[in-house]
Amino acid sequence: MKQLINHISIVLTVVFCLVMLEGCRHQVEHATRVHQVPAIYPDYVGVTIPAGIAPLDFNFVGGDVDLLDVTVRGSKGGELHVQGEWADLNIEAWQQLTQQNVGGELLFTVCVEHDDQWIQYDDFKVYVSKLPLEDYGLTYRRIPPGYEVGGANIGIYQRDLHSFDETAILKVSAVYGHCINCHTANRTDPSTLTMQFRGEGGGTLVQRNGKQHWLNTRTDSTKAAGSYAYWHPSGRYCAYAVNSVHQNFHVGTEKRIEAYHRFSDLILLDTQTNQLVLSPLLQTEDQEIFPAFSPDGKYLYYSTSKPCNLPAEYEKVKCSICRIAFDEKTGTFGNEVDTLVNTAATGKSYTLVRPSYDGRWLMFCVSDHSNFPVFQNDADLWLMDLKTGEMRELKEVNSRQTESFHNWSSNSGWFVFSSKRENGEYAQLYLSSIDDKGRVTKPFLLPQRNPKKYYGELFDSYNVPDFTKTPVSLDVHEVHRQVFDGKRQQVEVR
């Protein structure tokens, strides 16, 4: 009996709380209609999202607001209603709604209350793609923009794309005095991972199935340790650029930073034997940079530019896209280089080649000059159809500011890229989808809870984003021990 009374009292309490909560809600009454879509941040109007993505929380930025009332209705059913300072959508309810409306639309009705007056804006749509996004999330580096000497607390993070959870994989605070960069998994699979550590006792980390291997990839035959990396699909080989990167700062208007490389070559690491495979065609006087294997592993794509007097002639750094054959069985490169996109024809610089994993597309950056597009305001994303060889600018995703650092989802239906479109200084991550006909959808900013506050107060730029199939596991204590222990296995040239 006593137990029953307890249960009843709990139920009554819950009901009372729900009634009280409902009572706190303001009913939208006598709303004035405004025939325009609401000004919201981020601009999610008309974007296409994958089912199961984190809720598209947004803020109203069209003026002062006391309360925001948002109703989301699915074209295939389901409804979600929230009220608050910003559109704070419940994760579970949102997930259910997007799953229910795969291939359909979500209709957003936004009402705003200010000084006891309600305004209702025109509804807007968000499209739920049929293309699934099967990966767990994203990995990326967060780094304050525009510094050179200092030791910023940069970090490599992972973000669950189905929620707002972000965790640090590794931060400089754990390996102070070192710069961490170029984290690269094999085709979004983090069980095969490489990462670079610069600074005293720096080295190359190769992690396979949780086991860390610490290497010195600099040899007498190579000018530096490996940096920008890309795995061969087999997971045995990893291509690295070896270079010396610098920054110079402009004093005049328009531009602020110019990054350049004093030299750059490509090397290939056989992670089974810890031997380097070198090719004279990849170690020329030219600057070979940003390697990427074709999905079948038969070619290595990269960018190359003619030598010039740097940094004085920084505007002469113009890259072409090339490829060289690779034989996985013998671990050797071919004897000739194909030029896919030639800078001589257009005067533009083509960098950061990223083939889709289904072998259909080649995405790359185009800018006026430079082999480091992230600091070029005019850097845009372009796409080449590998079936036809045709290429086009991705106007659907480009802006007047920098677009760069793109990567493909494991099923090649989605891509992530960084863009400085918001303020020209801080790069943020956008996601977009592409179908088999090459139709690209309006990109959407990586969702955050209370995004205006989050991005407004974030002091970091996002770079080197990539999808990750599963969460990345890295033993930070072992990393710390290895970094300060300084013992590195010396790789040898085959």
């Binding site: 304050p144 510094y147 000497v149 004093v251 005049g252 801080y426 002091f459």
Partner: protein, 398 residues
Amino acid sequence: MTILFGIVLFCFWNYVRSAQIEAREAFQLFLFQSDYFLSRLSVPGGMARYVAEFLVQFFRSVALGALITAVLLVLIQWLSWKLLCRNMTAVSPSHLFPFSFLPSFALWKMICDMDVSMTLPVAVLLTWLLMLVLPNRRKPSLVSSLVLIPIGYWLLGPVIICLVCCHFKWLQKSDDRIVVLAESAGLTILLAACVLVSSHVVPYSLWNITKGIDYWMIQSDKAGTYEEIEYDYLLQQKQWGKIITLSEEEEPKSLACKNVVRLAKYYEKRISGEELKENMLHPNKVLTSGAAAMMMSDVYLHMGFVNMSQRAAFEVMMSSPNYNMSGRELSRLVETNLITGQYEVALKYISLLEHTLFYRSWAKQMRQLATNPELIKRSPKYGSLQEVYQQTVDVFFF
């Protein structure tokens, strides 16, 4: 005696080490925000750090900073005496009194070093308070310690080991010494377990966690030498005469300080504009520390090199010894972005500064400029710098 100690401390910080008081404030940005509070609480010792940073924001006034530092050290001395009297009942309080100064003297010496944060004295003070509220009987004290060690460790950091040490006093008072030893060992293991477990949930090395995440700066020697801090202080005050006098007494070692001396000489009309520029434009050589970068950000802005000033301000933010932001340099970034016309970026920084106590009103003024850029042209400071910036011929700095 305690009052006299306090007066000496105040005079020391207010007159002898005033530059350091100001420098401490310059290397942090305390925000009145729940997120900021929670981010501090997310690592061991976070509450001590939060309280310390709350106090350090008042260091913008040197006198107030000196007073707070003096009060902090005096309170530690007073609590030390109380603890000594309580735990060493066999010894006369008058004999114990001189020993009560030892922790404060040690901390005084330590915080003269910019690599030691104000979090340490705050953590000591709060730990001393916890020790004072421990019951004066062994078993209740043990039970309290079992609760206070994990909580205290998370809030105050590894200095909570003093609570463990405190338990050893029962060795004198109890006949059952083996049990006391076992209890003390248990408390030690408990603390060690807390440290180990925490090392798996926060992105810091075990060594950093063990020595206190914010007691000692993670990046040592990043703040700058005292010479740099002193020159920076004088530069802030625009005491051109004193800067020249100081350099004549002893030539500064730091390249940034030498540049400040040249700027002072320029303002005192001892050198020309061309002489001022000599060797000034070698950022890689001159931005060697936080204080050096702070000075150079000022110097570059004095010279009209807005981008260079912005770059140096960024370097300060990045070379902060404990990865804190800098309120002073964030203000500089607001200024440079207003001048270069990057109003969206300026607004981003202004939003942060509006969450502070001392930069808030200034940030609101800057918001007016960022949202009404035509007002910048009419501003005597920013208008003229904007004009200079727009006429600057673009060249690299090598």
